[in-house]
């Protein structure tokens, strides 16, 4: 059993695990598209945290590859949020509702 603390990788991985689980839970249970988007953001955050943690606890000193990968995750999340919210806006304009179960099509 690893000891938890700021200098142990296990604590960061545990936080990332909880974040990812919360994201999966949000995606599975939410009916609203914004709720699903929040879940996706949580999962991406968990991934970025894992990148940073593994990069920090590698053997080489001053190795920032993990951090760089985490920056790319943040970029992907930003692009995804912009496109998702634009789509959501479009769906809302046509059907006045963003319930995922009710939304059958984008064509009006």
């Amino acid at each position: 059993m690893a000891d938890f603390g700021p200098s142990s990788i296990a604590s960061y991985l545990a936080v990332a695990l909880v974040l990812f689980a919360a994201g999966v839970l949000a995606i599975g249970t939410r009916r609203n598209a914004i709720g699903v988007l929040i879940g996706i953001e949580l999962m991406l955050n968990a991934a970025a945290l894992q990148f940073a943690a593994y990069g920090r606890f590698r053997a080489e000193a001053n190795d920032v590859q993990g951090q760089t990968a985490a920056v790319f995750v943040v970029v992907a999340a930003a692009a995804e949020a912009a496109v998702a919210l634009a789509l959501l806006f479009a769906v809302y304009r046509t059907s006045r509702d963003i319930d995922l179960e009710q939304t059958r099509e984008l064509r009006s």
Binding site: G23, I34, G35, I38, A82, F89, S108
Partner: protein
């Protein structure tokens, strides 16, 4: 401090996944994001912490909250905020401000290091006070150059796609009305 950040991240994430009200969920997502920014500081990734706060809290969270306010009856729900959620919110705000103070302390520390470097070396271009920020820049323009370009391309594409989507549907709805 470390456990405060962990608590922020975990409780915010679980709350964002479970709470029924979307407005509260997005606020709790913000709590989680700030907590993760604090964890990045413990991983000696202050650049990543700044990116997290600027892009996630300043960009994505504002977008999500705008969409929430835009698309649902939030004000009625805010009036009915249960008291336990109010207490959680106040506690979260306090924890987040602790993290913010810590971030500011790191920023001041880095700025002082930068000042010392500049004063001692007399080279205004030398930025050596950051924790790996210089190394990240080297990596992005060196070994990771193609992914870096791809990320820029992705962002441009996302911007164009978002604008095109909204414009196309506006035209459709106008055609339907007229």
């Amino acid at each position: 401090m470390f456990w405060t950040c962990c608590l922020c991240a975990i409780s915010g994430a679980i709350g964002a996944a479970v709470v029924r009200n979307l407005f509260h969920a997005s606020l709790l997502l913000g709590l989680s994001l700030v907590g993760i920014a604090g964890l990045y500081l413990f991983l000696e990734a202050s650049y990543l912490a700044c990116v997290q706060v600027i892009v996630y809290v300043g960009g994505i969270l504002v977008l999500v909250m705008f969409a929430t306010l835009f698309s649902s009856d939030v004000m009625g729900a805010v009036q009915r905020t249960p008291s336990w959620l109010r207490v959680t919110g106040i506690t979260g705000a306090l924890l987040a401000s602790v993290v913010a103070v810590r971030l500011a302390a790191v920023a001041i520390h880095v700025a002082k290091g930068l000042e010392m470097t500049r004063g001692a070396m007399g080279r205004p271009d030398a930025i050596t006070g950051g924790n790996g920020t210089e190394a990240i820049g080297d990596l992005l323009t060196g070994a990771w150059f193609v992914p870096f370009l791809a990320a820029g391309f992705l962002l441009t594409l996302a911007l164009v796609a978002a604008v095109a989507t909204v414009k196309r549907f506006r035209r459709t709805t106008e055609a339907l009305r007229g």
